[in-house]
């Protein structure tokens, strides 16, 4: 058999996971509906004053994005684990890190990207300015991949455990705090009329750091969980 190049392997895994996700669309839609619902609950909880809503909007949207990405992480490896595909993936004479990276990218495209695309609508509900929405979207674009990648480590560690979902959130949420801080910080800076580029640069740095290390760590975690 011809040995695939790393890039074509990556593309193969991404395409496979995307096709699988499109075959059962409800999973994707539930995450999205959850995101919209959590965000819409906040005005009901804290009251409809526009000033306050504008102030809490970035935090609410970020926390909701964090929670809904936790929700979909459980499925990242579990379906492949249950039907034995994951075991075959570990046996493939190719880099497991690249396979894991492919799964992370596909997970982000299915559960992170739709949230980013929905954000402008939700931002308008909270009466955010166009500029603030723009920065929020930029931050989410940089930050949600980090959430998927950190989450993949947690998902690999908790593979096949009872109560895995709650445990996964317990492990991953503290690690996601920097992303949350810089993401909301950028929007806070733009509404205060300050320069927001430092926050976004830090997010970019986190993304590069995560891109470099998390596929390998998650691959090691998978090996530990599967042995």
């Amino acid at each position: 058999m011809k040995k695939r190049s790393l890039f074509s392997l990556l593309m193969l895994v991404i395409r496979r996971d995307l096709v699988l996700a499109l075959r059962c669309r409800t999973d994707v839609l539930t995450t999205l509906v959850f995101f919209v619902m959590v965000v819409s609950l906040f005005p009901l909880g804290v009251g409809p004053e526009t000033d306050m809503l504008r102030k809490i909007a970035p935090g609410v949207l970020w926390v909701a994005a964090l929670l809904s990405s936790m929700l979909s992480l459980g499925r990242l490896f579990s379906a492949d684990y249950l039907d034995g595909t994951l075991e075959q993936m570990l046996l493939v004479p190719q880099s497991l890190s690249v396979l894991v990276l492919g799964k992370m990218v596909a997970h982000w495209m299915v559960s992170g990207l739709p949230l980013v695309l929905l954000t402008p609508v939700l931002g308008l509900q909270f009466d955010m300015s166009v500029e603030a929405i723009g920065v929020l979207i930029l931050g989410l674009l940089l930050g949600t991949p980090v959430l998927s990648m950190l989450g993949a480590i947690g998902a690999a560690l908790t593979l096949g455990l009872r109560g895995g979902g709650v445990l996964l959130s317990l492990l991953v949420l503290p690690l996601c705090i920097p992303v949350l801080i810089f993401g909301t910080g950028a929007v806070g800076a733009v509404t205060a009329g300050l320069n927001y580029s430092s926050n976004l640069s830090m997010m970019g740095a986190l993304l590069v750091l995560a891109l470099t290390f998390t596929p390998w760590v998650a691959a090691q975690a998978l090996r530990i969980s599967m042995e």
Binding site: L157, L170, L171, I181, M202, I224
Partner: protein
């Protein structure tokens, strides 16, 4: 004569050594606690600005220092266990974790008790307090992951990986939290840089030493229990005097 450096890296030999070492750490810990509390409450003078309330630092500061340091100790043992596949290192890592979590909790609790009279609030979203809280979450995550995996070898390796990821993340979290705080509300409270009275210093360092010795003694006692639990099917455990009786 060649010394066997790795003699005590086997649970079989370390079990006996730990048993012999525990009194050497536990008794000095008790003495130093008594001395430190005596100096702290009776000898050290009242603080000019904070009155009697400042005395809580004699437990608060050692607890905070140990909670942070023990996380690194735990991650170090966990990494050793993961890299060299030594059983004892992983056992030490899981023995350190509850003590670290306890110190993190004590640090938050005493901080709240001090904050109420001094700042007028039980809790302030100050950078240090927030990162201490996140540290407690990291400890709890480690313990929870270890507890929910039945196979001890997999539990050791999985939680070791988590501890290493956590220790890489700790500086990032610390600086992001610090920055977040200064970005939003500015530094509201600053510790005045007055030099400490000599008796206060003595009390603080005595308590710090006492906390260290206590942490070592408790970890050794806990690792003995873990060894007994994990190796319960082996012959050498069955031949131990305390098991047979």
């Amino acid at each position: 004569m060649a010394i066997n450096w790795f003699k005590y890296s086997a649970p079989t030999t370390f079990y006996g050594l730990a048993g012999k070492l525990i009194p050497w750490f536990a008794i000095p810990a008790a003495i130093l606690f008594a001395v430190g509390l005596y100096i702290g409450f009776a000898v050290a003078p009242m603080d000019a600005q904070q009155g009697e309330f400042y005395r809580i630092i004699f437990i608060h500061v050692p607890a905070s220092m140990l909670s942070m340091f023990l996380y690194m100790v735990m991650a170090g043992y966990a990494a050793l266990g993961l890299i060299f596949n030594t059983r004892l290192s992983s056992m030490m890592a899981s023995a350190v974790a509850p003590t670290g979590a306890l110190f993190a909790f004590i640090s938050l609790w005493t901080g709240a008790l001090w904050g109420k009279p001094m700042w007028g609030a039980w809790w302030v979203w100050d950078a240090r307090m927030t990162s201490e809280l996140i540290l407690l979450f990291l400890y709890l995550g480690f313990i929870a992951l270890h507890a929910s995996i039945d196979d001890p070898r997999r539990a050791d390796r999985a939680s070791a990986l988590l501890a290493i990821v956590g220790s890489v993340n700790v500086p990032i979290i610390y600086f992001s939290v610090k920055w977040w705080n200064t970005l939003h509300q500015g530094s509201t409270i600053k510790f005045s840089g007055t030099s400490m009275h000599i008796a206060m210093q003595q009390a603080m360092f005595t308590m710090l030493a006492a906390c260290w010795l206590y942490a070592i003694a408790v970890t050794l006692a806990r690792v003995r229990s873990i060894i007994l639990e994990r190796e319960r099917h082996t012959k050498w455990i069955a031949e131990l005097a305390e098991v047979r009786s």
